[in-house]
């Protein structure tokens, strides 16, 4: 009875996340006098914006039933392209667009391997993770490409109307993504394909095209995040965001996106990202050693996903 009541309600995921967030905020507010302030809220906002961006692309890929492990590597390549072009005195906007185009090419490689060659997305993007990361090192000869502080710094460091520019970019993309997934035909197809690919093929939906699109979009969003990282550091690093893909996947799973596809919302991903951002921030403010932060994040992820699958009455069998 209770089980069947809970099963249907995806909204319970959101409510659970909101409660978790609330508890974290109260807890850290009590533990640290610095936590509950506008300044700190903006810090958290800026800190989550870059990973949050990548989480948006990954969420859409995962809702369609796929996975993209190559996002962080794609971000590094994109930053590298832009920085190299800027140093070659190419106009900033052109360099940025070229970097996004480069990211789109990386996304096309993913979609070709997954959709055309029909390689399992975990294996395929594990391969392209190494491929893209390797390219970033090859192009730069392993060195960082320094662009210094210039007009580009706005994206990563600037403020507009009191808000970090990267946070604004993140929130805009997030809202556009939510509108896309909820209201457009294509967004609905992403859900449907994740739910039952064969059924979608049977009714003539262009499944391969939609799936390819999700990987290209994911890579481009990662490219945008890569530009923000480069801008923030004033440097494009071939090792930028190394290993961040796992953190991002953790945030997405925490937000209620199913590995099997078809379920979850971008709002859930946003809450998952925010919770992890709050925890990271709170642990720093309360002086918890940095290695323990990883432990805590791991525990929270397992707890959250276990709770969610238990509530759905299923789980891994």
């Amino acid at each position: 009875m209770i089980k069947s009541f809970f099963r249907k309600q995806d909204n319970w995921t959101i409510i659970g996340l909101l409660v978790t967030l609330f508890v974290m905020v109260v807890l850290f507010s009590v533990l640290s006098p610095y936590f509950l302030s506008t300044r700190n809220a903006l810090n958290i906002g800026q800190a989550i914006s870059i990973r949050g961006l990548m989480a948006i692309g990954l969420t859409i890929v995962m809702i369609s039933g796929g996975l993209d492990l190559s996002i962080a590597a794609a971000a590094a390549v994109s930053g590298m392209i832009a920085a190299s072009l800027i140093n070659a005195e190419v106009h900033g906007t052109t360099a940025g667009l070229a970097a996004l185009l480069g990211a789109a090419v990386l996304g096309s490689i993913n979609s070709f391997v997954i959709v055309k060659l029909r390689i399992n997305p975990i294996i395929a993007t594990l391969g392209t993770l190494l491929l893209f990361r390797g390219l970033a090192f090859v192009v730069s000869g392993g060195d960082n490409v320094v662009i210094g502080v210039n007009t580009w710094s706005i994206l990563g460091r600037g403020f507009y109307m009191g808000l970090p520019v990267s946070l604004i970019v993140y929130l805009v993309v997030l809202v556009l993504g939510m509108i896309f997934m909820r209201f457009t035909i294509l967004g609905n197809y992403v859900y449907a394909i994740g739910g039952n690919t064969v059924a979608c093929r049977n009714v003539g939906i262009h499944v391969d095209r939609v799936r390819s699109g999700t990987y290209i979009f994911s890579a481009m969003i990662a490219g945008l995040a890569g530009l923000a990282i480069m801008s923030q550091a004033g440097t494009a690093m071939p090792s930028a965001m190394n290993g961040a893909e796992l953190d991002i996947i953790a945030a997405v799973l925490l937000g209620g996106i199913a590995l099997t596809g078809g379920r979850g919302t971008l709002f859930g991903t946003f809450l998952g990202t925010l919770i992890i951002g709050v925890i990271n921030n709170g642990l720093i403010l309360t002086g918890v050693p940095v290695y323990w932060q990883m432990v805590v994040r791991g525990l929270i992820l397992i707890a959250a996903v276990a709770l969610d699958s238990f509530r759905r009455g299923g789980g891994y069998r």
Binding site: T184, N188, A192, R201, N202, G204, I205
Partner: protein, 253 residues
């Protein structure tokens, strides 16, 4: 009277396996054709060719008197062929209305899903078909077997098909729900829709069909009017105990 669809010499092979050999069939408006045969006889292959999932290696189709090609599911739908697959092809994680209009959702400004109209139309359609569901906004995964079948049939009907392909529509259903599906078929027939029914369930098959086609090892083994056929004959054809028999008066020329 002109058949809604005529197939001539339709063949299909998968590698070395000859799934269908020179199939000739005619189906008329307002007619229920029972497509029977043992496992692997070629029933599902034939349905998938008609619905555009597979394409035939050889053979021709005449739809409403005109030569037609069925190259993909969209092409089949455009002709007016609607299919209810054995696995129902439902997206469990999506609501009823989304499933009924999957792939042909009402749109606003080209790109936007007209959710309100879709839910309204879905409700209307279910009412028309006397199908009772808790709501068109619940996910399909919470529905019972019969309700899921009803959603799948509703989708086929929403496609506006003149030719409905039903693949084992009552396989997973209880007695009462089976009766509901048969009633649904009667209603469709009365509206002039032609139905091809694939089934393993031979009980009552002669009552709900007008004609019977039996496939055996990829060939059309028997083709007969239901009114002049007995249950034992059908079993004999399916098992091969009776020789092949294509009745002249069944309309096949």
């Amino acid at each position: 009277m002109q058949p809604i669809i005529s197939m001539r010499n339709v063949s299909k092979a998968f590698g070395h396996v000859q799934a269908l050999v020179d199939i000739d069939l005619d189906i008329y408006h307002g007619e229920v054709l029972g497509l029977l045969g043992d496992n692997g006889a070629g029933k599902s292959t034939l349905i998938k060719i008609l619905s555009g999932v597979y394409s035939a290696d050889e053979g021709e189709f005449i739809y409403e008197g005109k030569p037609a090609k069925i190259e993909n599911p969209n092409g089949a739908q455009a002709l007016g062929i609607a299919t209810v697959y054995q696995d129902l092809s439902l997206v469990d994680t999506r609501p009823v209305a989304h499933n009924i209009f999957l792939g042909r959702e009402p749109r606003k400004w080209g790109l936007i899903l007209d959710r309100r109209r879709m839910e309204h139309d879905a409700k209307d359609l279910l009412e028309q078909l006397n199908i009772n569901l808790p709501s068109v906004t619940v996910d399909v995964e919470v529905l019972s077997g019969g309700q899921r079948q009803a959603v799948a049939v509703s989708r086929a009907i929403a496609q506006g098909g003149d030719l409905l392909l039903l693949d084992e529509p009552t396989a997973a259903l209880g007695v009462e729900q089976t009766e509901q599906v048969h009633q649904l078929m009667e209603d469709m027939k009365a509206r002039g829709t032609a139905i091809i029914l694939i089934t393993h369930d031979l009980s009552g098959i002669l009552d709900i069909t007008d004609k019977i086609a039996v496939l055996r090892q990829g060939r059309l083994w028997a083709y007969a009017k239901s009114s002049s056929t007995t249950q034992n004959q059908i079993i004999g054809w399916i098992t091969g105990a009776l020789p092949s028999q294509i009745q002249e008066e069944s309309g096949l020329t």
